[in-house]
Point group: C2
Chain length 226, copies 2
DNA sequence: CGGTACCTTGAGCGGCTTCAACTCAAGTGG
DNA sequence: CCACTTGAGTTGAAGCCGCTCAAGGTACCG
C-alpha cells in the first residue's frame, strides 16, 4: 500500500484547466479507479451534520445541494450537473444536504484519500485549490444575485447559467422543478413561474413543456441580468 | 484539514490552525518581510477589473469588499477586520472592489510570490486552500442569510458575527455605517436602523452612540438568527 | 385512460423599500 | 464660543414587489 506521490520541489506538472477532470487525474496519479454509484430520484447523497467522507463527480443526472432552516425554509446553494465535482469543502462535517433531483450516476473517491494525496502531491493540492476557487466565484455571483437583484433579474441569470451548463441541442432540458428554481434564487415557485410566463409572452423564450425551454433572445436576457 | 505536513520524508512542520497567520509563515518560509501600507478612510485598495497583484492582511482598521451594479445598487460581500487576510481569490482580475471604511494599515505580499511559492511548497499551497475554505464557509452562510432570512434575522446574525469578530471590552465599536450594514445584509439602511431600534426597545442591546453597541441578550439573538 | 405531481394564474396581503422630515454629533470658521 | 455645514442616524407615511392562499390547468406515468 506504499504508493509514493512525493514530487521534488520545482517540478511542475501541466494540468487540465478544468477541475472537472480532477477525477481522471487523481485516479491516474493514485492508481485507483473512482467507485461508481447510482442515486435514484429523491435519494439523499449526504445530509447536514453527517460525515464528509466522499467527494463526487456527476456522470449523468442532477444533484441539488441545500440547507434547511428549522421552519422548513430552504436555500439551494448549487445544482450539480454532469461533469461537476461536488462534496468537497474542506470540512469534516457536512454543512449542507444533497439529494438527487433525477436518477443520477456519480463517481466517488474517498475524501481522506484525496486529502492524503494533497499533503504530498502538489498536483492534487492545486486541484483542490482550483475547485475551491471555482466554488468561491459561483458563490460570490450568487451573493450579488440574492442580495441585490430583482425577481426578473434572478430568473434571467438562472436561464443564462443553465443555458451555458446544460447543452441540449435546441431546448434546455431543466432537471429541476419550479420550487427548486425558487429555492435556488431566493424566490417562491409562483414568482418564478410568473417571470417565465412574462418572458414567454415577450418572446424571449419558448416552452416545449414546462421543463424544456428554448432561449430566443439571449441578448435581452443578458441586459436584464445587469 | 491536517495541520502537519510532510515536507520531506520524516520532516513534519506544525502549522498554525488559523490562516490569519499566513503572512508570518509565508514570510518566514520565503525569507521576505511583508510590506506595510496605510489606507486612509475611503481610500480604494483595489477595484473591479483591476489587476489582482497583491494579497493583504489587515493590521488595524477595516476594509469593505463590494460589488456595484450598473445602476448603483451595492452588495458588500465581506468586511475585513484586524487579522483578516483578503485579496486572494485565485483570479487575475478583480471581480470586486475594496476600500477602507476607517483609517487602515495592512501588510501585503505580492500575489505572484505567493503563487510561485505554492507551486513548490506544500505548506503555502495548503494555506491558500485553507484560506479559500474559510471564505467558502462564510459565503455559504451569507447565501442562506440573503436567500431566506428576514430582516430581523439578518441583523441578529450580523450582530452575532461582529460580536465574535470585534473584541471590544464591553461594547462593539462598529467601524461601518448603517448603509454598509444594509449593503452587507441585502437591506436598506432604514430597515437596519428600525430593527436595531426594535432590539434596543426589547432590551436585547444598548447603544453608546450609534456605532457602539453592547449585546445584553445573546441567547435571544441566537434564537432570532432563525 | 385516470391519478398525481407539477405548473400557471389570480386576488389580496404584508414586509421591506422609498421618500421625506427631523435629530444628533463632529468639524469649521467667524 | 457659537452659527453654520455636513454626514449619519432615526422615525414616519405611503407604495410596491414578491409572498400567501386558492383555484384551475397541464403533463407525465402508471
Amino acid at each position: 500500500m506504499a504508493i509514493s506521490l512525493a514530487r521534488q520541489a520545482g517540478e511542475v506538472i501541466s494540468l487540465p484547466k478544468n477541475p472537472s477532470d480532477m477525477f481522471s487525474v487523481v485516479a491516474h496519479r493514485l492508481g485507483i479507479t473512482p467507485a461508481a454509484a447510482r442515486f435514484e430520484k429523491h435519494a439523499e447523497v449526504y445530509w447536514e451534520d453527517g460525515p464528509a467522507d466522499h467527494v463526487y463527480q456527476v456522470v449523468s443526472g442532477a444533484i441539488r445541494n441545500y440547507k434547511l432552516l428549522s421552519d422548513g425554509r430552504c436555500q439551494i446553494t448549487a445544482f450539480y450537473l454532469p461533469g461537476d465535482v461536488f462534496g468537497y469543502d474542506g470540512e469534516d462535517q457536512r454543512q449542507t444536504s444533497a439529494d438527487a433531483i433525477a436518477d443520477t450516476s456519480v463517481r466517488t473517491v474517498k475524501r481522506r484519500l484525496l486529502e492524503n494525496a494533497a499533503t504530498s502531491d502538489l498536483t492534487v493540492a492545486h486541484y483542490l485549490l482550483d475547485l475551491a476557487t471555482e466554488n468561491l466565484k459561483h458563490q460570490r455571483d450568487q451573493i450579488i444575485l440574492l442580495g441585490r437583484k430583482t425577481a426578473a433579474e434572478r430568473v434571467a441569470a438562472f436561464l443564462l447559467e443553465m443555458d451555458s451548463r446544460l447543452k441540449g441541442d435546441e431546448s434546455m432540458p431543466l432537471p429541476m422543478c419550479r420550487r427548486d428554481i425558487g429555492d435556488y434564487l431566493g424566490l417562491t415557485l409562483e414568482t418564478v413561474s410568473r417571470v417565465l410566463s412574462l418572458l414567454h409572452g415577450a418572446g424571449v423564450l419558448d416552452f416545449a413543456g414546462a421543463r424544456h425551454i428554448t432561449l430566443r433572445n439571449r441578448t435581452q436576457l443578458l441586459s436584464m441580468e445587469h
